[in-house]
Symmetry: C2
Subunit: 216 residues, 2 copies
């Protein structure tokens, strides 16, 4: 799951571990508590698999034109960026130093990302689903729809199974169960809105209605 998240972020721009964590926590909000104990092993894993490549943050690799090789791609004002480059140049000519490792996604990584996004594992927990949805722009429209509807089906089923037995629970447990059910209901409503939006975007021209006799 983390692998997908990391690759998804690297699709946009090169990043180092710390930044990846920040974006996961602040920008996306999902995976808010993700730990460095997960991120660094994940990066090593991905690097070993050839999905990402580590640079020292100063080299501009050939081919990739879409994102800046500078570690802290400055949102506004390139001064800090320049300084960062100079600092990096000064401080990490050798690997022995403890320095920034900026990761860049490879071609194989992009492939893996798409694969993880479409096929990859569970949609059961909210986190993996939300993560997938957050990167849904990388999916084909019909894959997006499939994702949304698959999730919807799961939630509906969960709701159906849940309310069969809310007996023999005390106030607190019951409150938890009830609130969980409410949340799931809200989630379904949310999904319905998304599905409707998808449908509207996909076929803005509605199927010519009820003119079935007259084909030609």
């Amino acid at each position: 799951m983390l692998d997908m998240a990391i690759l998804g972020l690297l699709e946009d721009r090169d990043l180092h571990g710390y930044e990846i964590r920040r974006q996961l926590r602040d920008n996306l909000g999902i995976l808010a508590n993700v730990s460095f104990g997960s991120i660094y092993p994940a990066l090593t894993r991905l690097e070993k698999a050839g999905a990402v490549a580590a640079t020292d943050g100063s080299s501009s690799a050939p081919g990739a034109g879409q994102s800046a090789p500078v570690p802290e791609a400055p949102p506004t004002g390139s001064l800090s960026g320049e300084l960062a480059v100079l600092r990096a140049r000064r401080h990490s000519p050798s690997r022995a130093r403890r320095g920034k490792k900026v990761y860049r996604i490879t071609e194989a990584g992009r492939l893996l990302f798409t694969q993880l996004l479409t096929e990859g594992g569970s949609i059961d927990d909210a986190r993996s689903f939300s993560l997938r949805l957050a990167f849904a722009r990388h999916l084909a429209p019909q894959a997006r729809m499939a994702l949304l509807e698959r999730r919807r089906a799961i939630l509906v089923q969960r709701l159906a199974e849940a309310d069969s037995s809310n007996v023999e629970l005390d106030v607190y447990a019951r409150s938890v169960v009830q609130h969980t059910a409410d949340s799931v209901t809200q989630d379904i409503i949310w999904l319905d809105r998304l599905i409707a939006a998808e449908r509207a975007a996909a076929g803005p021209v509605p199927v010519p209605v009820t003119q079935e006799g007259d084909i030609r």
Copy 2:
């Protein structure tokens, strides 16, 4: 976290692993996806720590008066207990099934449970909090209040940090972030209701009623 859940369930009645999983999944709804790969190691762990004791399910353990020796026995003559017996009987008429291990909580286990419930780790993710709340009847009123308010504070802070940057996200990511924020808001409202209920139960006397029923 699982340890607390298991101990909490065993406070009510003796159970075996499979039943524990069922209750976690069906009755509580939280920890819906908990795996046997978690439960059985957890039981072994707890047994090794002396918090639970395993019986073969047919033997009447000496001493323990609070719970009947029969595995699926009612702690009291309560309806829930009877139902549990019937349910269990339906599924296991034979007593000498393959290696059925029925676990019973020990005195040390009860101590550990209270400790985990009050002090134990994170309240950060929804699951651990919900689990704690589900067992809140085992807590002292003021500990309950502390739990609710601690959680509320975390959610409020999360909400405050979240909306600072919803820029530069595409439709899907933005929708995820927005829905997450909405959910957190709903959670806070829920907590407010619970807190109000607690306050009402604790001190029904002195509250000067200003805005009744109005959430904040």
